[in-house]
Amino acid sequence: MENAHAYGLLAEFDTPADAMHAAEKVRDAGFTRWDVHTPFPVHGMDEAMGLKNSKVGWFSFCGGATGFTAGYTMIWFMNSFNYPIVVGGKPLMSPMFPFPVVYEMTILLSAFGAIFGMLFLNKLPKLHHPLLKNRRFKAATDDKFYVIIETSDPRYVEEETRELLESAGCKHMEMVGE
């Protein structure tokens, strides 16, 4: 069987509007393993694809909270516990003077949380992706819009899926191998 090694069905569209309508159809048909590739961000695509708000925020929040606590703990440990040192006649520990450091730590670790959380959720880095072999797919960074439905999707039945994408106005379709 040829399809045993197929990654998915790639459908090409000429305009963002066509791709968006196709995405709505695919979403409504209940597919779960699929994606849309466009040369630039298309407003409203998240909704058309039925994507919920990203979970990256939780990673940055946890990172930020860790940074905040770690910043205060670090300064307290260094300046008033492990090696108490009086600077400028100020108290050994106060919420005031460490704050710039605490604030920077909060930002640094929440940025780390955002970056690494994003990489983790996207399963990146990835050494290879089947779409990268496809010659036609290069246009995804130029002027074409693609919807790809993976063959591993439980809803995937080749004939029906082809019909669905054709009815959405797809001009060109091809199977992408693993």
Partner: protein, 415 residues
């Protein structure tokens, strides 16, 4: 009322039964203030000043949002721009309400005015160029003239554009905004130095202007959020307001929550770190008695509560959370103004007095009632949002084809 028909299917809200509320506030406030004027003169003056500074925040905040809109050629602000213009247009009303009290009783309000020989006090001596009664009078009046002029220029062009739809009005408003933002920064700083900071004339803080500005825009955005939601439900703004309008106002509100905290912390931090008596006395006084708790309330209530509440993006679209938060923002801004003004008459922080409570509420009701009355009057007599702003279609989420595009399409259709 306006001719706009509400597009939303929700039953529209009717606020007609509250039409008399501003009058009731004015009368109630006036009675309270009259009692205060004769019985508790000091409380009356300082509470009135607090309410004046509170509402000045909304007027200047409105003006700032209009300037911001034109400077950045923004799209999200279009639905609420007319409301902001009316807010800014309240400047002369606030001037008439506030200046007579501030100017006539200046000697009772500002201790530096009562010093017999200004050159006997070193702090006053070196600041004499600004801190003398003549400059105080002239600048106070001039500031309101400038704000009134700028607000009226911007609103005049905006209203004219409703009629003509000409792009020249947008271009003119941009020019006013470009010069206006500089004027705005200087005038706001001068105003807040004269009316609020000079209560303790020995004090120094280079951040005071921006500190007041941050709190002002913060409060204005909270107000705008609730007003937009209300006016969407009454149908006035229903054609232009979308989900993203609330998200955008909420996001800027959130940003200003952080900005205010950043500025106020920086002011405190520099003074704390330098530990120079000329600067620290201001905060030392505010650690006495009740002022300590008010200070804590500002840290936690003005920053942490709204910050943590609004962190999630979906919260910014939920009126059930945002409306109480906006009310809370009003309270916090009032606490902030009180924290700046009232320790002058109660340096020990004895606590809340009945006279103080009555005067605070009466002043807020009196000035707020007048401003609400004039705001409603201008809102009702004009279109509720800029009718023919170049970005109105974009705001409504509609794509309007350019003429060149339409021509190209008919050509290709013929071919």
């Amino acid at each position: 009322m306006s001719s706009e028909s509400p597009q939303s299917s929700k039953p529209s809200l009717d606020l007609a039964k509250y039409a008399n509320l501003p009058n009731q506030l004015i009368v109630g406030g006036a009675i309270g203030l009259l009692i205060g004027f004769f019985a508790w003169r000091e409380q009356f003056l300082y509470s009135y000043l607090t309410a004046f500074m509170f509402f000045l925040s909304l007027v200047l905040g409105g003006l700032f949002l209009v300037l911001l809109h034109h400077l950045f050629d923004s799209q999200w602000l279009v639905p609420i721009r007319r409301i902001c213009e009316h807010f800014a247009g309240l400047a002369p009303i606030l001037g008439v309400l506030g200046l007579p009290v501030i100017l006539i009783f200046a000697k009772s309000i500002y201790p530096w005015m009562a010093i017999e020989d200004p050159h006997s006090d070193h702090a006053l001596h070196v600041k004499y160029a600004l801190f003398n009664p003549t400059a105080f009078w002239v600048v106070s009046i001039a500031l309101f003239v400038v704000w009134t002029w700028l607000a009226n220029r911007l609103r005049k062009h905006s209203l004219a554009q409703d009629e003509t739809g000409a792009a020249t009005h947008t271009q003119a408003m941009r020019k006013y905004a470009a010069g206006g933002i500089v004027l705005f920064a200087f005038t706001l700083t001068l105003g807040v130095i004269y009316w609020m900071k000079s209560l303790e004339h020995q004090w120094f803080s280079t951040m005071y202007g921006v500190y007041y500005f941050a709190g002002s825009v913060w409060t204005t955005l909270a107000t705008m959020y609730v007003l937009t939601a209300l006016l969407q439900r009454t149908g006035h703004l229903a054609p232009v307001v979308r989900d993203s309008t609330f998200k955008d106002i909420g996001t800027l509100f959130f940003a200003f929550t952080v900005f205010y905290a950043y500025i106020h912390f920086s002011q405190y931090f520099l003074i704390w770190n330098a530990a120079i008596p000329e600067e620290t006395f201001w905060y030392v006084k505010r650690e006495n008695g009740i002022w300590w708790y008010l200070g804590m309330l500002i840290i936690f209530g003005h920053f942490f509560v709204p910050f943590l509440t609004m962190l999630r993006i979906d919260v910014k679209k939920k009126l059930t959370i945002m409306a109480p938060l906006a009310g809370w923002a009003w309270l916090m801004h009032y606490v902030d103004m009180t924290f700046n003004i009232k320790p002058v008459i109660d340096p020990e922080g004895h606590g809340i007095s009945l006279s103080g409570m009555i005067q605070s509420i009466a002043s807020m009701a009196f000035i707020g009632g007048f401003l609400a009355k004039f705001f409603l009057k201008s809102f009702i007599t004009h279109a509720p949002f800029p009718q023919r702003d170049p970005r109105i279609a974009e705001t409504m989420g509609v794509y309007v084809e350019l003429e060149s595009e339409a021509q190209a399409q008919t050509k290709s259709a013929k071919a």
